[in-house]
């Protein structure tokens, strides 16, 4: 976490807006601008005016101008990066279906509006606390960090149980040993069939073992011996 935090700060170019917002920022305020070798990330937060719908359309125009300006400025300084804008929406599920939901949908529409952004930047709208992959981090922060420095954790092989035919047979045999002779006889039949299949002797596997076990145990016991069931010894081995 320490390293991540350090990276996070290292990437930061500009922090949040000061209190006196420029006039054209009626609809949103800047949370920060970050730069990595991967992308230039701008994080903005809609203002109350924007959320109440007063300046939504103006916000769109102003945001476009702002992002283009950031991109151009970076290019002027010889930093050519794709620009990603993360729009932070307040996390309040109660209003998600109301005005906030509408704003969220509008943001998605903006992102898909190719006539508007012309591929100059891409938009991500994130609720402040949407615990999708990392409950400990705000969704918007997680998005910013993922854009700047993505991490894909390799598969942890230590968690993997090695599975082969022999390990399977070993497990089955061990478990059958703690059971009765009937279980052992069926497990033996299963193992015999599996080995036959493994050796490519399908016809043998189909004819014997489980089929034979089935033959022995599906016919009524009264057909084979008159003794009560409790006295029967099914795994007599004959």
């Amino acid at each position: 976490m320490t390293t991540e935090k350090t990276d996070w700060l290292d990437f930061l170019l500009v922090g949040p807006d000061c209190r006196d917002l420029p006039a054209e920022r009626g609809g949103w305020c800047r949370e920060g601008i970050w730069l990595s070798d991967v992308a230039l990330v701008v994080k903005v937060r809609p203002t109350h005016k924007c959320l109440t719908g007063e300046v939504l359309e103006q916000t769109k125009q102003a945001l476009y101008a702002f992002l283009r300006r950031v991109s151009q400025t970076a290019l002027e300084h010889d930093f050519m990066r794709p620009v990603a804008c993360v729009i932070v929406l307040p996390a309040d599920p109660a209003v998600a279906s109301g005005r906030l939901g509408e704003i969220s949908r509008a943001m998605r529409r903006w992102g898909a509006d190719q006539e508007w952004h012309r591929g100059a930047f891409t938009l991500y709208s994130e609720f402040d606390s949407e615990p999708k992959f990392d409950p400990e981090r705000l969704a918007s922060d997680r998005r910013v960090l993922d854009l700047l420095k993505p991490q894909v954790t390799p598969i942890e092989e230590s968690e993997r149980a090695v599975r082969t035919l022999e390990t399977l047979i070993g497990s089955l045999t061990n478990e059958a040993e703690t059971r009765g002779p009937l279980e052992q006889s069926l497990v033996n039949a299963v193992i015999e069939d599996l080995r036959a299949y493994e050796a490519g002797h399908e016809s043998e596997a189909g004819k014997f073992s489980i089929s034979r076990w089935k033959w022995d145990h599906l016919k009524p016991p009264s057909d084979t011996q008159p003794a009560p069931t409790g006295q029967r010894q099914p795994d007599s081995g004959d």
Partner: protein, 704 residues
């Protein structure tokens, strides 16, 4: 497995000769973190990526190497061309490993004589994704090698034209699940057989127990006793009548149940010479046959005896009738015959009758009139004297006439009387003969007896049968209980085996969750429609097309709202495929499964809009220019859409310290193949390029 340092980190130069779109020999510098290949369709971009895929994975798809891999000579008049010479094709990729060593991969195939199984790349490090080389038959090993190659290809190469093949559902070969959780060959059949046993046992156990719908047991035996009581007299009569049947010496007075009846029936059969011990319906049938047989034989005997006499009897009866008719006629003619004969006959034997008297009178009347009797003779003499006195008055002629008259009246009566006596004698004889005709009457009587016998026998058999049925029910019921108890025990065992097998072979949540999480994380970077995320991987088992006994353990893709692959748009499918490729490729980093760190992406701009193109570019930059060495990949991207490609080029410009090459396929000639313009893209300033630039930028940005 090769050492991690032997993993190929970068392809620096590719030489392709006579491979697909490449006529002659082309050497291309690819020594960069990211190689962008542009140009119109048909100029050889995909051929280059396919050459790289082939040399990095040995996977040639499902193609026939000769007809599809080899460069084609141009045909004339629109006719298809022929393979370019008979000397095959050649691909060589020179690169360096993670350990900075030089590595050359070369693939040379010659025709004729090279078949599919001989395609081997020299210098290619071994991958843990490949199956073990020592298992199964040669044919199986070859098939499994192909399957392994397909998987390695799916983890590093994306071709827009074959986007479906990126998914486990559509691909034919091994999957990551097969690598991490291999299932034994034939496991499905074994499980299926076990399930079959379970199902069959469950079906048997679910069968309803036997039910008794008849009378109560007590009532059954009461009925049987009554039926036997009715039958017994008939049986005794039969035993007494039947001439050729050995009945039992002592029949029971009563039978109390079916067992007693069985014992009696067996004794009857034994007495009849049947030594086999019959039971149940057969015993009943045999008993019925024995009784009916005795009856039938007796009837036959009597019938046969009567049959010989029947014609004679008929004749006798006719004769008797005639005799009786004649007697009747005589009686009608002489109704007072006996009285008349008595009246004119002698009163006592030796005395003359009336006719004799009149004849004597007629002959002796005159002479008798002269006879003198002395006075005082005996009373008889007096009476006779008196008679003579009367007779003296009779004239001889008159007496003769009277005698004649009496004779004419008396003679036929005397003849009739004689005839009656004769007839009576003859009738006596006929009747005596007719007495033998009693046999036919016996037959009639036997018929009546048989009817009664059979009636009582039928009732007995029915009661007896019901008793047997009840015993069968009891036996069946006991058997059912025993069977079900046994089957339940067997079911427990079979179900346990199925469960154990499932437990030991089921898809581990670990791998599923890992892959799901990783793919979802990559997909999260795209602007997907609602309901798509989180991505779900559903573990399923399929069979290999060429080997029904091998199991492909796949993960089928499902969106969060349940849509399957077939319900996704082309763009969504491409995004899913890319997400799976990238996430799985990166997830296997440093574990020895991948023998190279190269990702090939063909026609990447085809399925994306401008918005997602930017996101995609960020993704490729992350992979090609990222800071994590283990997760960095050399990326080859081809694109044919000019506007999109130019935009993509801007988006992919490398930062300082990273490199990018641009390969522009500007022309293609049938005789030489593509004309490629190669250039290096100049990096822009990177974060590591010095603090000055960053400080200036920060300063400017703060002013916004």
């Amino acid at each position: 497995m090769e050492a991690e340092t032997d993993v190929i980190a970068r392809i620096e130069k590719v030489t392709v000769s006579h491979f697909r779109g490449f006529q002659k020999t082309h050497s291309i510098d690819t020594n960069a973190d990211l190689v962008l290949i542009t140009g119109p369709n048909g100029y050889g971009k995909t051929s280059l990526l396919e050459a790289l895929s082939l040399v990095l994975t040995e996977w040639r798809g499902l193609r026939d190497p000769k007809t599809e891999l080899l460069a084609q000579r141009p045909g004339k008049g629109g006719k298809p061309g022929s393979p370019h010479g008979d000397d095959g094709f050649f691909i060589c990729a020179e690169g360096r490993t993670v350990g900075q060593g030089k590595r050359a991969l070369s693939l040379e195939l010659e025709w004729p004589g090279t078949d599919r199984g001989e395609l081997t790349v020299l210098g290619l490090p071994r991958s843990r994704l490949m199956p073990p080389a020592d298992a199964g038959t040669e044919e199986q090993r070859r098939s499994e090698r192909d399957d392994g190659r397909e998987l390695t290809a799916r983890l590093c190469a994306f071709f827009q034209d074959h986007v479906e093949e990126q998914f486990d559902e559509v691909a034919r070969g091994r999957t990551l699940r097969d690598v991490f959780e291999p299932l034994p060959r034939g496991i499905k059949e074994v499980r299926s057989q076990l399930s079959g046993v379970v199902e069959e046992l469950m079906t048997r156990i679910a069968e309803p127990p036997p039910q008794w719908h008849g009378l109560g047991e007590d009532r059954l035996w009461i009925d049987l006793r009554a039926a036997y009581a009715a039958f017994r007299p008939q049986y005794l009569k039969l035993a007494a009548t039947a001439e050729h049947w050995a009945a039992v010496e002592e029949d029971p007075q009563t039978v109390d149940d079916d067992a007693a009846m069985d014992a009696f029936a067996r004794r009857v059969l034994q007495a009849s010479g049947v030594l086999h011990r019959y039971d149940g319906p057969e015993l009943r049938d045999r008993f019925e046959a024995a009784v009916s047989g005795a009856m039938d034989r007796q009837k036959e005997l009597v019938g046969r005896r009567a049959a010989g006499r029947t014609r004679e009897g008929s004749r006798l009866r006719q004769r008797l009738e005639k005799l009786e008719d004649e007697v009747r006629r005589i009686r009608d003619e002489y109704p007072r015959l006996e009285e008349d004969l008595v009246a004119l006959s002698a009163g006592e034997p030796g005395q003359p009758d009336a006719l004799a008297v009149f004849r004597v009178l007629a002959h002796s009347a005159r002479r008798w009139s002269r006879v003198q009797f002395a006075a005082g003779e005996v009373n008889g003499a007096l009476l006779f004297a008196r008679a003579l006195e009367e007779l003296r008055a009779v004239e001889e002629d008159q007496a003769a006439v009277c005698a004649e008259a009496i004779a004419a009246w008396l003679e036929p009566r005397r003849d009739a009387g004689e005839r009656l006596r004769e007839l009576d004698r003859e009738a006596q004889q006929v009747r005596s003969a007719l007495k033998h005709e009693r046999a036919s009457e016996e037959l009639d009587r036997l018929g009546t007896f048989e009817s009664t016998l059979k009636q009582t026998l039928a009732v007995l058999l029915e009661a007896w049968k019901e008793g047997h049925r009840f015993r069968d029910y009891q036996a069946h019921s006991a058997k059912y209980d025993a069977d079900v108890t046994w089957w339940k025990e067997a079911l427990t065992v079979a179900q346990w085996s199925v469960d154990r097998l499932d437990d030991l072979t089921h898809a581990s949540g670990w791998l599923q969750e890992e892959l799901q999480r990783l793919a979802g994380k990559v997909l999260w970077r795209f602007n997907l429609v609602d309901g798509t995320l989180p991505l779900h991987l559903s573990a399923e088992d399929r069979s290999y097309p060429g080997d029904p006994y091998r199991t492909r353990s796949i993960y089928a893709v499902r969106t969060d709202d349940g849509r399957e692959l077939c319900h996704l748009s082309t763009g969504q499918r491409a995004q899913m495929a890319i997400a799976l490729l990238v996430s799985q490729n990166l997830a296997l980093s440093g574990l020895g499964y991948l023998n190279h760190q190269i990702i090939l992406l063909d026609d990447m701009t085809a399925a994306y809009d401008l918005s997602n193109l930017t996101r995609e570019a960020i993704l490729w930059r992350q992979i090609a220019y990222g800071e994590n060495d283990k997760q960095r990949r050399q990326v080859f991207i081809s694109s044919h859409h000019e506007d999109m490609t130019n935009h993509l080029l801007d988006l992919l410009v490398p930062p300082e310290g990273r490199s990018m090459r641009l390969l522009r396929f500007i022309e293609w000639s049938p005789s030489t193949g593509p004309v490629i313009e190669e250039s290096e893209v100049i990096p822009t300033r990177g974060r590591s390029g010095g603090p000055e630039g960053l400080a200036d930028l920060k300063c400017d940005l703060k002013a916004f």
